[in-house]
Amino acid sequence: MSRTMDRSPGSVSRIGSLVVRFAGDSGDGMQVTGDRFTAASALFGNDLATFPSFPAEIRAPAGTLAGVSAFQVHIADHDILTPGDAPTVLVAMNPAALRANLSDVVTGGSIIVNSDAFDERSVAKAGYGADPLSDGSLAAFRVYEVPMTTLTVEACKPVGAKPRDAERSKNFFALGLVSWLYHHPLDSTIEFVERRYAAHADVVQANTLALRAGWNFGETTEVFESSYEVPPSTLEPGTYTNVSGNTALAWGLIAGAHQAGLSLFLGSYPITPASDILHELAKQKHFGIRTLQAEDEIAGVGAALGASYGGALGVTTTSGPGIDLKSETVGLAVSLELPLVIVDVQRGGPSTGLPTKTEQGDLLHAMYGRHGEAPVPIIAASTPSHCFEAAIEAVRIAVTYRTPVYLLTDGYLANGAEPWRIPDVETLPRIDPEFQTEANHTAPDGTSEFLPYLRDPETLARPWAVPGTPGLEHRIGGIEKHELTGDVSYDPGNHSRMVHIRADRVARISRSIPPVAVDDPGAADGRPARLLVLGWGSTYGAITAAVRRSRANGLDVAQAHLVHLNPFPENLREVLARYEAVLVPETNLGQLVKLVRAAYLVDAVALSKVEGRPFLVGEVESAIAERIGSLRAAKETRA
């Protein structure tokens, strides 16, 4: 029997896209509500992008602005790149949720409120002087007042739950209502509820009743003039799943280790927003993965390095202050020349900063945050699903070049999700660890010997000879080493050569990375754009959407997005030289812009945002228009 609910043939409008934000107290279940709406959209075939936002406190005081938790989802019938700049629909479960989110809602947008929560005390607690539902302040919006608490309690009566308990299902009432409004079937959500709360039959029943009551409320009342449908998107053929950045990254690490034939070791200390990678890998023990929740960040990376020394793929994951603590060990890994992947899920800083908010603040730390000349390759993921590919690439570089590698993501990618076309595992790149198993040199007296720092002439990688290999016993350490034997050496010339070799080894990685792709449609007809927008990491979605919109408005603009931040792709110098102006949007005060200016002497200009939030498409779009405007003005002045 299908559990899809029938609906009456009312007025239905087709729309191309929709941005809904669910907002409530952090205990109201807004994350699960948003997540279920997303899952149903994905199954329906919409393209989508999500943006969860929650307070750092587990339960900030109920009803206050500090405690508001929200989940935004953008669904469309076409390929989309961001969770949307501004919600067209806000579901506000209480006055604080309304107040905290109202300024983001598009003018004329819909606001669905739980009117039961707008009592005098709650209104005051949210900092309102008067009830916003009756003081006319919402005149620019379409406001739907629904007594969700009352209706949920009423609907749950058959379960026999106390009103206080029944009330907790009101997020499912809201989900049911929004599902009716946007033609989402309830089946997958009911299945989810049955699975998730299997141990508590009464909870399954209450949530299901609330969900259906929400749907029925939309169906039977005439509160809403119309319902809407976002038709399925035309995605590339294939099998899809919805992944968050942290999950994709964890899977990418598993795939990377698998492709290299190495066992995966994760040394990690819990920290927001990186912990989910530890959680995911800890679940996958049947892959032979060893996860160690270490005593601190330093031990996490130390244990990972120890595992790499033993021939495993050592990985550590962290964020924010964790990166500071790991720096000394990363320097040791530079000296030992062993594979190591350091995942930094960037968050707002300095210090504890904004634990749950996003920022691209650590690029220069990854680049330079060690004492001495200690170069480390850097990879950055661009989208939640790209975290998978980026992780495999980080593993490839770490293993091939025997080096620590920084893999940068951020809070926005970590928790955001998007549909991902699942790759065929047969097509994933192979990685050869090339373990050393025998002597690699003939001494002047004719005997064969092992030189632990004798390098591959192409990659400059040293041999990876792991304990247990007979005849290759050797000692390594953080003291400067002789360039061939690895013995302690304080010789000035040797140190100079070793510093240069370590720098060259990282620089040569550029030989094995693809050139940066430039999207400049006019270039083929000999009419290249004058402005290049250069980005890295999680700004990809906002920049790409902004570039599309700018072109739709008749502006010529080129776009390039970097995955490899150290070393840069070999063609980057030539690419930058092609354009009169380079704009670099970053959620920091301009870190990539410093690197490209220093490396290529180009007058690149930063577009900075440091609010703990990703760029809105409109913000990048305005900056593009402004830059192109000033280029035109300058040209006219010259003419």
């Binding site: 995605l235 899809y240 160690l292 005593e295 130390g302 304990p467 016993e473 000692r475």
Partner: protein, 352 residues
């Protein structure tokens, strides 16, 4: 293959049964650079004499160290070795031991490295019972940085950094180890190779984390720190050898002993006064660590009768063993990991 070849490259390299090695085979070609007269030399010799006798192979033996004078140790061994960073050797060794349970891993550390900058890693390696042998050379001073007080320096110690005397309360290394749930805790000293070798052999054979404090003389910055108990003339009356199942006795002809008083404190007595039957019988296998802890505090410092030998040696599963058992149990339930299936483990849908 059996071999009588004793050249450096062949002997002991393959660990084949019957292969015999000597100290020379376990010695690297690097010049030893400790100060002449340093106690570290005798510890190095004890380890190099012991290893040929342990039935282990060079390629499966790893020495990991942090920073400090003691931390140069790996360079002098012809095994695998890593001279890492200050205090972190137990953490690095944990990763190595968890991913490579087949290896024989030694951590060499000092009182500053293990108890000051690396205190956190030490206690956690001990509580997890990582299968490593930790040698902590205790000289009660910072040697490599030329003479500052350490976390084991006595209260009032005058050094370059404490010209008016240290005001810190020192750590008792064995009390720390026992408090950190260590399954094996022992003490020996650099003046007695035989005792060192016997103690280190016990530590090596223990499955799990073994912690050995080695009283070591720094003849440059803290000369004679243990002279009152380890000196040739004082040893007999000041060191209290512990032997499992035996009454705790020491002194000339075993004239002194240790009793447990009804108020739950230990006291040194003349055996003649109390009789042998009144002496405390040492039980290193006792699961409750309280008595071992009390023994670790019998002396208030190296000027009172000080127990040496194995304080505690209990059996509990070591960390890598538990990790591997868990992996095996999950595989039993779920089968070995399948990457293609993992990528499809969420909700999926097909387009086109």
């Amino acid at each position: 293959m059996t071999t009588t070849d004793t050249t450096d490259t062949a002997a002991g390299a393959d660990g084949a049964p019957g292969a015999t090695t000597s100290r020379k085979d376990w010695t690297s070609d690097q010049e030893v650079r400790w100060c002449p007269g340093c106690g570290d030399y005798s510890i190095l010799a004890a380890v190099q004499f012991l290893l040929p006798d342990l039935g282990v192979s060079r390629e499966n033996t790893v020495f990991v160290s942090g920073i400090g004078c003691a931390a140069r140790f790996p360079y002098y061994m012809s095994t695998y070795g890593m001279h890492s960073i200050h205090g972190r050797a137990p953490a690095i060794a944990t990763g190595l031991a968890v991913s490579r349970p087949d290896l024989d891993i030694w951590v060499v550390s000092g009182d500053g490295d293990a108890l000051s900058i690396g205190g956190n890693h030490l206690i956690h390696a001990l509580r997890r019972n990582v299968d490593i042998t930790i040698l902590m050379f205790n000289n009660q001073i910072y040697g490599l940085t030329k003479g500052q007080y350490s976390p084991t320096s006595e209260h009032g110690k005058v050094t370059k950094s404490t010209p008016f005397g240290s005001i810190d309360t020192p750590f008792n290394p064995l009390s720390v180890a026992i408090g950190a749930e260590a399954s094996f805790v022992a003490r020996t000293h650099d003046m007695d190779r035989k005792h060192m070798m016997a103690t280190l052999r016990r530590a090596h054979d223990h499955k799990g984390a073994a912690f050995v404090e080695i009283l070591q003389n720094c003849n440059v910055f803290n000369d004679g720190a243990f002279e009152a108990i380890t000196g040739k003339g004082s040893r007999e009356s000041m060191l209290v050898p512990l032997a499992h199942g035996e009454p705790i006795r020491f002194g000339p002809d075993g004239s002194k002993g240790v009793v447990l008083d009804p108020d739950a404190s230990l006291r040194v007595v003349d055996v003649a006064d109390v009789g042998i039957d009144a002496l405390l019988v040492h039980d290193e296998k006792r699961s409750d660590p309280s008595l071992a802890y009390m023994l670790s505090r019998l002396a208030r410092g190296p000027f009172e009768p000080t127990p040496i030998g194995v304080f505690r040696a209990i059996e509990r599963p070591h960390y890598a063993q538990l990790v591997d058992e868990q992996i095996a149990a999950v595989r039993e339930r779920k089968g070995s990991g399948d990457l293609a299936a993992l990528l499809r483990s969420g909700t999926t849908w097909t387009v086109g």
